[in-house]
């Protein structure tokens, strides 16, 4: 067995041991997570089946001399758009996963000092990048493709093609992401003020993305008779023949209609480009991986800025009014977060995406406004609120859930200090509430301004966001204490355990429950006749009480369970 074989073999063995360790987990937790995952899969399948079903008979025998229906065209465009979005998301997430895998994982120093050449090392670790970044694509993509296959009555070759297309489709963005990560570290690793450069680049990229989206995907006014054509054009812009997502979409669609020749051509195109991407990434790694790693290790050796200087120094000054030991604990958490680029860069991306969405949503909602009447504001608010809460749930799961686990082997420091574990847990909770509120409440207000909301809708949406920030923070911190992983230093891996999954699923349940209540209150007003205004106060009160009760339970229960576990834990 050579070095590459050893890397892959060890990874397989570790995965097996990890699967076996599930047997030691609480059966209730395993059952809940498994059933929830199955429920999510089935939910996506049902939604996709329903959606594709709507288009199935739309404008039958309208196009191409009766061979294709309008529904076929719409579904094809939707699939293209979906593939383009997934490809873009994979590209972004692969940069982060590649950075963590090639530069920040604990095993890298050990592997770098082993007699493995950089190319072999890259390929060995690349397998991990691909599997780590793409399992969600498989999980979420299979129900959509299955639904599409059933809706169009696709032959068996369609399902075989979906499997064959998957690997090159996830390898290509992983190769691109790895190249970007290695190049960035190589170029920025030696720079002073690296964090500043990264933030600047991130903001610039987001601004460019926003500008591009506004220009390319501008939605037409749907009251205009030519709107359908314009909408088709807007969606059709994801169908460039130079986009890998388009090769996937075309290939899979061709296989669905039995056009094997076209499917094989598109598969060949995708495989050839994935292979080229992998080869280029391997060559780049051969030249730069070890050099970039060395630069990063060397830059880590440099001293952090002094207490009084930099963003952290200023932040710490703002914390002065807090009583000790809370102030010290908060300052410590903020410093650790700030000094881990992989942490705050993901934080920035989460909020960047949300900001891009909210800024674009005002225009989109107005475009739809003429078609659906005054209700567009209510629907726009509900959509914005749902998007904000989903991002908030990802955020609390990704960043707040690991807070207790990250104390890890250093927990004895807190254990010896003259403070109770209750204080530690509530400090994490309030830290989460304070940092998340800064962004979520700000974005809720920004969204309200974009949608020209009046005080009633503004109050409901801001109130909903505040309640959700409290509840989702408590869920993340409480469950993080209930299911800690003190052996792991990598937050991504802490979150990917059963506890993290449970936290995300429960957050989803909470979001669905409060969004339904908010939607009821927001839409009730627009009901025709007196019905809209007659019972509005009661409906609003009922929604508020429902949200308050849910939030109280979501704060109290996980925090109580987490605290009980933390106080009983022998660390």
């Amino acid at each position: 067995m050579g070095p590459l074989g050893a890397l892959l073999w060890s990874r397989r063995r570790m995965s097996l041991h990890l699967l076996r360790s599930v047997r030691r987990e609480s059966k209730l937790k395993v059952a809940f997570v498994s059933l929830s995952a199955l429920g999510l899969w089935l939910g996506i399948f049902a939604l996709a089946r329903f959606g594709f079903g709507l288009f199935e008979d739309l404008g039958a025998e309208l196009l191409a001399g009766g061979r294709m229906s309008l529904g076929d065209v719409v579904m094809a465009r939707l699939l293209s758009l979906l593939a383009a979005v997934v490809f873009a998301l994979l590209g972004v997430s692969n940069v982060l996963v590649a950075y963590a895998t090639f530069f920040r994982s604990r095993e890298m120093p050990y592997l770098v000092q082993s007699p493995i050449d950089a190319r072999t090392l890259f390929v060995g670790r690349f397998v991990e990048v691909v599997s780590f970044s793409s399992w969600a694509t498989a999980f979420l993509g299979t129900p959509v493709l299955l639904a599409y296959g059933l809706a169009t009555g696709a032959p068996p070759v369609f399902y075989a093609a979906a499997v064959l297309f998957y690997l090159p489709f996830v390898v290509l963005p992983a190769a691109l992401g790895s190249m970007v990560a290695i190049t960035l570290v190589r170029l920025l690793g030696r720079l002073r003020h690296r964090a500043g450069w990264l933030v600047g680049s991130g903001v610039l990229l987001l601004a460019l993305l926003l500008g591009w989206l506004r220009m390319r995907l501008a939605l037409p006014d749907l009251s205009d008779p030519s709107a359908l054509q314009a909408l088709f054009q807007a969606v059709g812009r994801s169908q460039s023949p130079f986009l890998p997502s388009e090769w996937l979409a075309r290939g899979i669609l061709a296989s669905a209609t039995g056009d094997v020749r076209e499917a094989v051509f598109q598969l060949g195109l995708l495989v050839a480009n994935a292979a080229l991407g992998l080869w280029l990434a391997t060559e780049l790694a051969g030249a730069w991986l070890l050099r970039a790693f060395s630069d990063l290790v060397a830059s880590d050796e440099q001293r952090a800025p002094g207490r009084a200087r930099g963003v952290l120094g200023r932040l710490e000054t703002l914390l002065a009014p807090l009583p000790e030991p809370t102030r010290s604990l908060v300052a410590k958490d903020l410093r650790l977060f700030w000094r881990d680029a992989s942490q705050w860069s993901q934080f920035l991306i989460f909020f960047g995406l949300l900001a891009v969405y909210l800024l674009g949503s005002g225009q989109a909602a107005r475009s739809l406004g003429a078609a659906v009447g005054d209700q567009w504001r209510a629907w726009g608010t509900i959509l914005n609120l749902t998007a904000s809460l989903l991002i908030l749930a990802s955020l609390t799961t990704r960043f707040m859930f690991p807070l207790i686990s990250l104390e890890g082997r250093r927990f004895w420091i807190l254990g010896l200090a003259p403070l109770t574990r209750r204080q530690v847990l509530w400090q994490k909770f309030w830290l989460s509430v304070a940092t998340c509120s800064l962004f979520t409440v700000g974005l809720a207000i920004l969204s309200a301004i974009r949608l020209d909301l009046e005080p009633y809708a503004l109050g409901l949406s801001v109130g909903g966001v505040v309640a959700a920030t409290l509840a989702l923070s408590a869920l993340a911190v409480g469950l993080g204490a209930l299911y800690p992983n003190f052996e792991e230093d990598n937050p991504s891996r802490i979150v990917s355990g059963l506890g993290g999954t449970l936290n995300f699923l429960l957050s989803m349940v909470y979001i669905v429950a409060i969004t339904l209540a908010l939607a009821l209150a927001l839409l009730w007003r627009d009901l025709p006749g007196d019905l809209g205004t007659q019972h509005l106060p009661w409906i609003t009160l009922a929604a508020a009480l429902w949200i308050a009760a849910l939030t109280t339970v979501a704060v109290w229960l996980p925090m109580r369970l987490g605290l009980r576990h933390l106080e009983a834990a022998e660390i």
Binding site: A6, R13, P109, S114, E301
Partner: protein
């Protein structure tokens, strides 16, 4: 076997290692001493390929660590102070993984693995996951895996943390025997009594520069000479001084030199 010429590393404005010239011949047990931040770990990181030198060169055998890193590393074994081990592998699986990294033939691996696991008293836990190991057991597994490919040069960074007295004795004996059989060892440690007991030669690194090199007796003689020069200032380092006294004396002397250099320009200006 381990050689450096003008090896230097600068981190921003800080010169961590400054023109280090070192030549450790085959079979020598060389101990690196120095206060915290002296540049020992940075030197080791350069020798093991984790950090590239800013200037100068280093060789393991005949292989330049920058130009031929894979060949150099194949001859090298490295035991860090806090070893990385895969928690979700068993001890035996970790040994097999290391054998793969070093391209050890299957037959040779089969011969060596049980012998090493027994030598480092790990045979009874070899099929347990590493996550269940104590710190000392992890350190012993790190040693066992390092010797698997029979390195010609060994770099050891403060290896005694977590080992009990019995294991310290066993590891010391094993290392000394290995050096006597031709293994070249470069060990960085703060445990001066162990350095005194094991080392053929000692190098004292301070502020990134190699201040003194020699056998334990030569180093002690140097310290005595320094003590005579600095007697009026109450320096230690009499004829029966321990290596600890000698180390403190020589590093104090280097600190005094550095302080004198730092104040020199202002003296010139005021003159």
């Amino acid at each position: 076997m381990i050689r450096t010429e003008g090896l230097s590393k600068r981190f921003g404005t800080k010169q961590a290692v400054d023109h280090l010239d070192l030549d450790i011949p085959e079979g020598e047990f060389f101990c690196f001493l120095g206060p915290n931040g002296a540049g020992k770990t940075t030197t080791i990181k350069m020798l093991t390929g984790l950090v590239r030198p800013t200037a100068g060169r280093a060789w393991i055998g005949t292989h330049d660590v920058v130009e031929e890193p894979v060949e150099a590393k194949r001859l090298l074994g490295y035991v860090p102070d806090h070893p990385f081990l895969y928690d979700k592998l068993t001890g035996r699986e970790f040994m097999r993984f290391v054998a793969g990294l070093y391209r050890l033939p299957a037959a040779r691996y089969a011969e060596r693995v049980d012998e090493l696991l027994a030598t480092f008293e790990l045979a009874h836990v070899a099929d347990q996951l590493v996550e269940s190991y104590s710190h000392g057991m992890r350190q012993k597994l790190s040693f066992a895996s390092t010797f698997l490919h029979e390195p010609l040069a060994l770099v050891v960074d403060e290896p005694w943390v977590g080992l009990d007295p019995k294991n310290i004795r066993a590891v010391k004996t094993y290392l000394r025997r290995a050096a006597d059989s031709g293994l070249t060892i470069l060990m960085s440690t703060h445990t001066l009594s162990i350095a005194e007991e094991l080392a053929d030669r000692i190098g004292i690194l301070h502020h990134g520069r190699l201040r003194h090199v020699g056998t334990v007796d030569e180093i002690k003689r140097l310290a005595r000479a320094a003590a005579v020069d600095g007697a009026a200032e109450g320096a230690e380092g009499g004829p029966s001084s321990s290596l600890e006294d000698v180390f403190l004396e020589l590093t104090r002397e280097a600190d005094d030199e550095a302080a004198a250099l730092a104040t020199a320009p202002s003296t010139v200006v005021s003159a």
